[in-house]
Amino acid sequence: MSTLIVRNLGKTFRNVSAVNGLDLELRPGEIFVLLGPNGAGKTTTLKMIAGLVHPSEGDIIIKGINLNEHPIAAKAHIGYVPDEPFIYNKLTGREFINFIAGIYRIEKDHFEERMAAYFKRLGIGEWIDEFSEKYSHGMKQKVIMCQLFLHNPDLILIDEPLVGLDPKTSKTVREIFFELRDQGKTLFICTHTLSFAREIASRLGIISEGVLKFTGDLDALSTISGSRDIEEIYLKLTEESTTADR
């Protein structure tokens, strides 16, 4: 069964179309990376799938459950990491993790040891019992990443995962993503970092002005664009759409 099916998805903000007629199907064990310039509609698409923005049209089906009709059941399969990580200032990282575990009805025995291992792996063990108001952007991002492993979601939605992370943690995060993929999870990642996209994606999508211009793997992308350089392909596809619109 497909983890995610998106049909004719669209969002209009005050007569301005942010996303238009987006179709997509993601299978288990797939890492889908959505690329696009600023304001192309990447975050809006991700937020619609996370249930944070209401689509103007179209359907989102997560593990066979229609998000619009059964939001609570569908959201139980999602893990979401926003581009600006947020933790309540007056909670420590550990308290935040406990809070999320409570919201998802997870017993302490089921996550405490596992979380301790992730804290260590991501290098936040030293800070985890301090107020998050003292955390850097990167540290917050790491704690938010940890909460993904609490409820074992089938579909993981991540907006700009590498922002604020040091090179060592970026490498660890990449390794974790591959592990999740190998466990059969589906990852939907939005990013600007082309090298990261090339390295990690099973499939790429390029969105420009709210329209999904391309989906496929790097080989398919090279075939239609006549280049192996992802940067060149990206610029060509996004510029083409801008020129055509003019």
Partner: protein, 550 residues
């Protein structure tokens, strides 16, 4: 100075943009509420002054004392509110990282922040002081010159506490950069209370003596014979002298205007020089001394796999750890305790059963308004305080309906505890008769349920997810609309309940027959009103979150 004007202009532009983009409904409601408040306060002060000035012999003196006392309370409150807001304005504002990275003089940044702090800490006082000053001028038939001068005095007056607070906080943090917001608030609260007490003890010891009398005239004479409340060195006395002098075209009015202006200017210049010496240094030092407090055990450590319990624990923890919340709740509680004690100290009203009953109805009205204020300050920001974390709740399997239900029930519990405790204690003090004593707490349950719902409803309809200061959230246009709705609800409820209350008084003390149809229909209308005021705002709250785009 060019840099200062440039920074100030960009701040003013931001304010103008936020006003012009707030939407017609919100803007009209905002203007309407402010206008209603100003007119209502003006009318109230006008009636008070008209009555007091008509009292033979002691009227004018008593009026002056009342004004002087009000300004003295304003001054003390302004000092405290400026210290509280100074820390967040001068040190905790994220904008400062950007401003200090610009090639501008730190003193320009200071001046812009001083104005911001002055406005934010003083607007509420000004809104209360302006109708007071105008009402006094109209009642005393003051010459035309009185109005511009006295209003200017009201605008200048809060500059002194703003400048003093910034000097205090710069010196404190330069010496002790490890201090946290909580320590500063507690320290300044203690210091201001101690200094005020000490100052009063030295300048006006008679005022602090407990005065008990059964005789109204004796009490009024005592009040009017007090020489000054704050003493001649306090700006609040100068402001009241401006009002008194200008209303009679006496030269002292101009003298005190000039004095207030010169001292405000001197305080600002002195604060500017202190800022030049200490501001950047202390700001940098605070950044170096990042306090590392560890919390290995807390409410959330006792983990529960029940979302409702977890959510409530989170709210309690955040509330307890946020100094601006609990300090204001403590001040609120202290003021209410003072109120109950003040009822105890004025037993002359409670001699006759009729008066006792009338006072207990007035007390009920007062407590309802108190809970309305509590709702706007503490319940209205509840949804906004989820801040950017709303994404987390929105993408979790916890429905917004459930979140609203949890917030409603936890806040209702708090509101019921406060309203019932206040009612029961005050009615014991007043010695209210039995039937009123038992009926009022039941009615109070409806009042609490509606006020919590109204504030939660508007708080969800007009959320401020980018703001982390609950006072600023409550002071926004949405908060003011919620305040109007709460006050309107209390007003309508009191009008409806006035019919059975009057009927009860008439039958109990004037031997008139009880009109049961009137009592039952009024109570039915009251219950119906409450079904609407509980149900509709809660529906709005859920719908606002369910259909919002985050």
């Amino acid at each position: 100075m060019k840099e200062f004007w440039l920074l100030l202009r960009s701040h003013i532009k931001t304010v103008i943009t936020s006003i012009t983009t707030m939407g017609a409904f919100r803007f009209i409601s905002f203007v309407f509420v402010i206008a209603c408040f100003l007119l209502g306060s003006y009318y109230l002060f006008f009636r008070i002054f008209t009555y007091l000035l008509s009292v033979e012999m002691i009227g004018p003196g008593l009026t002056d004392r009342l004004i002087e006392m009000s300004f003295f309370v304003f001054f003390t409150m302004l000092l405290f509110s400026n210290v509280i807001t100074s820390f967040s304005t001068f040190y905790n504002d994220k904008e400062l990282d950007f401003l200090f990275s610009l090639p501008v003089k730190p003193t320009s940044v200071y001046l812009v922040k001083l104005i911001e702090n002055y406005l934010y800490a003083s607007w509420a006082t000004m809104i209360l002081a302006i109708p007071l000053v105008i009402a006094y001028g109209v009642t005393t038939r003051a010459p035309l010159l009185y109005f511009p001068f006295s209003l200017l005095g009201v605008l200048i007056f809060p500059l002194i506490p703003a400048a003093l607070a910034s000097m205090f906080i710069f010196s404190l943090l330069r010496l002790f950069p490890r201090l946290q917001a909580r320590d500063i608030i507690l320290l300044s609260l203690g210091l201001i209370m101690a200094l005020t007490f000490l100052y009063m003890k030295i300048t006006n010891p008679g005022l602090l003596k407990l005065f008990e009398t059964e005789n109204e005239r004796e009490l009024l004479l005592f009040a009017s014979n007090l020489t000054t409340i704050g003493g001649s060195y306090v700006p609040s006395t100068w402001l009241s002298n401006i009002l008194r002098g200008l209303s009679t075209a006496h030269m002292s009015g101009f003298f005190y205007s000039a004095l207030l202006f010169v001292v405000s200017l001197a305080a600002t210049i002195l604060a500017y020089l202190v800022a030049k010496l200490l501001y950047v240094q202390s700001w940098l030092l605070i950044g170096e001394h990042v306090a590392r407090r560890r919390f290995k055990r807390s409410l959330l450590s006792f983990h529960s796999a029940r979302p409702t319990r977890t959510f409530l624990m989170k709210d309690v923890l955040i509330f307890v750890r946020e100094p601006t919340q609990w300090v204001q709740l403590s001040m609120f509680t202290i003021l209410l305790i003072v109120y109950i004690f003040s009822l105890r100290r004025t037993p002359m009203y409670f001699t006759f059963p009729l008066w006792r009953t009338i006072v207990s109805f007035a007390n009920f009205a007062y407590i309802s308004f108190v809970i309305a204020t509590f709702g706007v300050r503490f319940i209205y920001p509840a949804v906004s305080l989820e801040r950017a974390g709303i994404w987390l709740l929105g993408s979790s399997p916890l429905s917004f309906r459930k979140i609203i239900a949890m917030k409603y029930l936890s806040n209702l519990f708090l509101a019921v505890v406060i309203i019932e405790a206040l009612l029961i204690f005050s009615n014991v003090v007043i010695r209210t008769d039995n039937s009123v004593f038992f009926i009022m707490p039941i009615i109070a349950l409806f009042v609490a349920a509606s006020l919590v719902s109204i504030n939660l409803g508007f708080g969800s309809r007009f959320p401020h997810f980018n703001e982390d200061n609950p006072s600023k959230i409550a002071a926004g246009s949405g908060g003011i609309i919620a305040a109007l709705a709460s006050i309107t609800y209390v007003g309508i409820s009191l009008i409806i309940l006035a019919a059975p209350a009057y009927n009860y008084l008439a039958s109990e003390y004037f031997n008139r027959p009880v009109n049961y149809p009137v009592i039952y229909s009024a109570l039915a209308v009251f219950v119906f009103l409450n079904i609407l005021t509980i149900g509709i705002p809660l529906k709005i709250a859920s719908r606002s979150l369910v259909y919002a785009d985050f």
